[in-house]
C-alpha cells in the first residue's frame, strides 16, 4: 500500500518533469508539424539564463569563467520573489531565442517549400550550435542554484505511513503545480478561443488559413515564443530540482520527450501532460528487479501505442475520406 502510494508520487513527480518539457515541444509540433530538436537546447538555455541572473558567474572552465555578470547582492537572489523574477526573465529570453531560431532556421525553409522533415535536421543543427556554444562559454560541468531560492521551504515532506516512509519533494510539487497550471491556461486558449481555432487552422493547412485571413507568420512567431518561454521556464524549474547539469542537460530530454508527446497525442497540449504522467507512472511502477529495463518502458509504451492508436491517448484521429 505504501509502496503503491510512493510509486504513485514518484511517478507523478517524474511525469510532471516530462510533461513540462513536452508542453513546449508539442506546441511547435501542433502548429508546424515538425519536431523541434532545438527545444531541448532552449530548455537548457533557460536554466543557464536564470542561473546567470541569480548567481552571476561561472567558475571552472569556459571562456567567461570567473567573469562576474551580476556581482553579489544581485536583485535576483535572496527571496523567492526575486528568484521568480529571474526565472521569468530567463524564460522570456528563451522565448526570444526560440523566435530567433524560427526566424533563422525554420522560416526560410518554409518559404522555400522544403520537406518539413528537414526542420528536424535544421533544428538538430541549432541544438548542436547552442550546446557547444554553452560548453565553450561556461564549460561542461554542472552548476547548482543556491539552496535558498525557494526561501525557507523544506526540501521534502517525509511521512511515515505504516512503518514505511513516504517522501514528497517540494520542488516536485512546484513542478507538478506549474505544469498543471500551464496546461489549464494553454488548454483554455487553444481549445476554447478564437485564437486557438485559428492556431489549429494554421496547423492543419497554412495555405487555407491565410485564405481565411489568418496571419500565418504571426501565429508561428507567437507559437515559438510560447514554446521557448515554456521550455526556458521548464529548464529553470527542473534545474532547481537537480542542477543545471551541463550543456547536454536539456537535450537528453528530447528523446524521452518524443515518447511523451506521441503517447499523449502529437500536437495535443493536454496529451503532453497526460503522456508525461503516464510514462512517469509506468516507469515508477517497474518492479525493482527489472529496473534495468526501465529505460525501455517509455519506448515500449510508445511502440504499442502507435500500433494500437497512432493518434495517441488524446490526439485526434487523422481521417481520410476518399
Amino acid at each position: 500500500m505504501t509502496d503503491l502510494l510512493q510509486n504513485l508520487i514518484n511517478g507523478l513527480a517524474i511525469g510532471s518533469v516530462y510533461a513540462i518539457f513536452a508542453l513546449g515541444y508539442t506546441l511547435v509540433f501542433s502548429i508546424l508539424g515538425i519536431i523541434n530538436f532545438a527545444h531541448g537546447a532552449v530548455f537548457t538555455l533557460g536554466a543557464y539564463f536564470t542561473y546567470t541572473l541569480v548567481v552571476g558567474q561561472f567558475e571552472n572552465n569556459g571562456l567567461i569563467k570567473g567573469f562576474n555578470l551580476f556581482p553579489a547582492g544581485s536583485p535576483f537572489h535572496g527571496t523567492p520573489w526575486a528568484f521568480a523574477l529571474a526565472a521569468l526573465i530567463g524564460a522570456t529570453l528563451s522565448g526570444l531565442v526560440a523566435v530567433l531560431i524560427e526566424r533563422l532556421a525554420f522560416r526560410p525553409m518554409r518559404a522555400r517549400g522544403a520537406d518539413p522533415l528537414l526542420a528536424l535536421v535544421s533544428s538538430l543543427g541549432v541544438a548542436l550550435v547552442i550546446v557547444n556554444l554553452i560548453q565553450i562559454l561556461v564549460g561542461a560541468e554542472s552548476y547548482n542554484f543556491p539552496p535558498d531560492i525557494y526561501g525557507d521551504l523544506k526540501p521534502a515532506l517525509i511521512l511515515h505511513v505504516g512503518g514505511k516512509l513516504i517522501v514528497v519533494r517540494t520542488v516536485q510539487v512546484i513542478i507538478f503545480a506549474v505544469s498543471m497550471l500551464l496546461l489549464l491556461i494553454l488548454g483554455y486558449v487553444i481549445g476554447r478561443t478564437r485564437t486557438g481555432k485559428a492556431l489549429r487552422a494554421v496547423a492543419e493547412n497554412p495555405g487555407t488559413a491565410s485564405l481565411l485571413g489568418i496571419s500565418v507568420s504571426r501565429f508561428i512567431v507567437i507559437t515559438f515564443f510560447l514554446s521557448g518561454f515554456l521550455g526556458g521556464l521548464a529548464g529553470t524549474l527542473v534545474s532547481t530540482a537537480f542542477s543545471v547539469a551541463g550543456p547536454y542537460f536539456g537535450v537528453t530530454y528530447g528523446l524521452k520527450g518524443l515518447a511523451v508527446i506521441v503517447l499523449g497525442g502529437l500536437g495535443s497540449i493536454p496529451g503532453a501532460v497526460v503522456g508525461g504522467l503516464v510514462i512517469g507512472l509506468a516507469e515508477a511502477f517497474v518492479p525493482s528487479q527489472y529496473s534495468a529495463y526501465r529505460e525501455a518502458v517509455a519506448f515500449a509504451l510508445l511502440f504499442v501505442m502507435l500500433l494500437l492508436r497512432p493518434q495517441g491517448l488524446l490526439g485526434q484521429r487523422l481521417i481520410q475520406k476518399v
Binding site: Q6, N10, E141, N144
Partner: protein, 368 residues
C-alpha cells in the same frame, strides 16, 4: 623514414566535446599543466616537449580518428588517452598495430592493458581501488550491516565497478539489501532513493559519473538518508561539489590519487597546480599529468642513450614502449611501475572523505 621532431610531440587524445567532455576537460587541464611544468624544468634533458591535442569526442569513431591523426599526421612519440574504456577498446588496437605506446589516463575497465603490447595505463582498475573504500567505511562505522548499491547501467566503468563493490561488500560480511540502476543521463532519482530509504540501510554505494552521482547523493540526503555514502571513481572530482553542494559532505571515495600523498614530487605538483588553478588537483588531472610525466621520464632515459633527434620515429616508439614498461616512476600517484602486460603497479591507494566548507567549496580529506 621520419625523424623525431623537436620539441618532442606527445599526443593527448581525450574527449574535449560531447557529454564525456566533462571528464575530458580535467584531463586536458592536467596535461596542459604537465607540459608547462615539465618544460619549465628543462623538458627532456633540455629538449622541450610539445603536447598535441586531438579531440576524441565521446564515441569510438572519434577516438580512432584522433589516434590516427596523432600517429600519422602529428607524428607523436606516444599517446595519452582516450577518456573512456569503450573508446580505448576501439582506438588502442590502432596504436598497438602502429607500434605507438599508449598510456590510458582513466581507463579502468578490465582488459585494457591486454589489448596489446603497446598499451598500458596509469589508472588502476576498479578491482584494485574500490575495495579500499568499503574497508574504510567499516573502519569509520563498524556497525554497518546493510548496504544499498546503485549504479549507472549505461556506463561501462560504473558497471564493472559496481561488481567489485558488491563482491567486496559480501566478502566483508555485509548484506546487499537492494541494487538499483540508473542512467548517467538521469536527473531524478526519487524512485531509487525511496527504495533505498525503505530498506533502512546503513551504507549506500554509488557508481556513476559526477552529475548523476552528485544528484543522487543530494537527493538521498534531502530525502533524509542519514547513513554513510561511498562514491565510486566517477564521483572522484571536485565537479560534484556544485552538484550536491553541502550534501556532498561525508561521501567516502576511494582514490587512485590523493593531493595528500606525501611524496616530494606530489607535494610540488600540488603546490604549483593549486597556485595556478586555485584548487587542489582532481584525480583525472593528476592521472593525465602522470601519463605525460611517465612518457617524459622514459624519454629522458632514451635520450641519454642516444639523442632523441637522432632516432627514427618508429624505433623510438618501440623503444619508448619498452622503456615505459621497464621503468619506475615517482609521480603524483606515488611510486608506480608497470607489469609486463602494461598493468599499473601502484604502491598506495587512498580513501578520502568530502568535507564541504560552504555550498560551493569543499575538499577531499584523506583518511588514514
Amino acid at each position: 623514414a621520419d625523424k623525431v621532431a623537436t620539441p618532442v610531440p606527445i599526443g593527448i587524445g581525450v574527449a574535449q566535446t560531447s557529454n564525456t567532455a566533462l571528464l575530458g576537460q580535467e584531463q586536458v587541464i592536467g596535461a596542459r599543466f604537465a607540459e608547462k611544468y615539465i618544460n619549465a624544468r628543462g623538458g627532456i634533458n633540455g629538449t622541450p616537449i610539445k603536447l598535441v591535442f586531438q579531440d576524441t569526442g565521446g564515441d569510438e569513431a572519434g577516438a580512432i580518428n584522433a589516434f590516427q591523426n596523432l600517429i600519422t599526421k602529428d607524428k607523436v612519440v606516444g599517446i595519452v588517452g582516450p577518456t573512456l574504456s569503450q573508446q580505448a577498446f576501439s582506438a588502442d588496437p590502432i596504436a598497438d598495430r602502429a607500434k605507438v605506446p599508449v598510456l590510458g589516463p582513466s581507463n579502468t575497465a578490465k582488459g585494457i592493458p591486454q589489448i596489446g603490447a603497446f598499451i598500458a595505463r596509469v589508472s588502476a582498475p576498479v578491482a584494485v581501488v574500490a575495495p579500499n573504500a568499503i574497508k574504510q567505511a567499516l573502519k569509520l562505522d563498524p556497525k554497518i550491516k546493510k548496504v544499498a548499491v546503485l549504479y549507472a547501467q549505461n556506463d561501462a566503468f560504473s558497471v564493472s565497478e559496481t561488481g567489485t563493490f558488491q563482491d567486496t561488500a559480501k566478502a566483508q560480511g555485509l548484506t546487499v539489501a537492494t541494487v538499483q540502476k540508473f542512467l548517467t543521463t538521469d536527473t531524478d532519482f526519487t524512485t531509487q532513493v525511496t527504495a533505498v530509504l525503505n530498506e533502512n540501510v546503513d551504507l549506500v554505494i554509488v557508481s556513476g559519473l559526477a552529475n548523476d552521482g552528485g544528484n543522487l547523493v543530494k537527493q538521498l540526503r534531502q530525502l533524509g538518508y542519514k547513513g554513510s555514502i561511498i562514491g565510486g571513481n566517477g564521483l572522484n572530482t571536485s565537479n560534484i561539489f556544485p552538484v550536491c553542494q553541502q550534501y556532498c559532505d561525508g561521501i567516502i571515495i576511494a582514490q587512485a590519487y590523493s593531493p595528500a600523498q606525501p611524496s616530494a614530487n606530489n607535494q610540488l605538483f600540488v603546490k604549483e597546480y593549486t597556485a595556478q588553478y586555485k584548487k587542489a588537483p582532481p584525480q583525472f588531472a593528476a592521472q593525465a599529468f602522470t601519463g605525460v610525466q611517465v612518457m617524459v621520464d622514459a624519454l629522458r632515459i632514451l635520450d641519454r642513450k642516444k639523442k632523441l633527434a637522432d632516432w627514427e620515429l618508429s624505433d623510438l616508439r618501440v623503444a619508448l614502449n619498452t622503456q615505459i614498461l621497464a621503468g619506475k616512476y615517482n609521480t603524483p600517484l606515488g611510486a608506480i611501475s608497470f607489469d609486463k602486460e602494461g598493468e599499473l603497479n601502484q604502491a598506495a591507494f587512498y580513501v578520502a572523505q568530502i568535507k564541504m566548507k560552504d555550498a560551493k567549496t569543499g575538499t577531499f580529506v584523506f583518511l588514514k
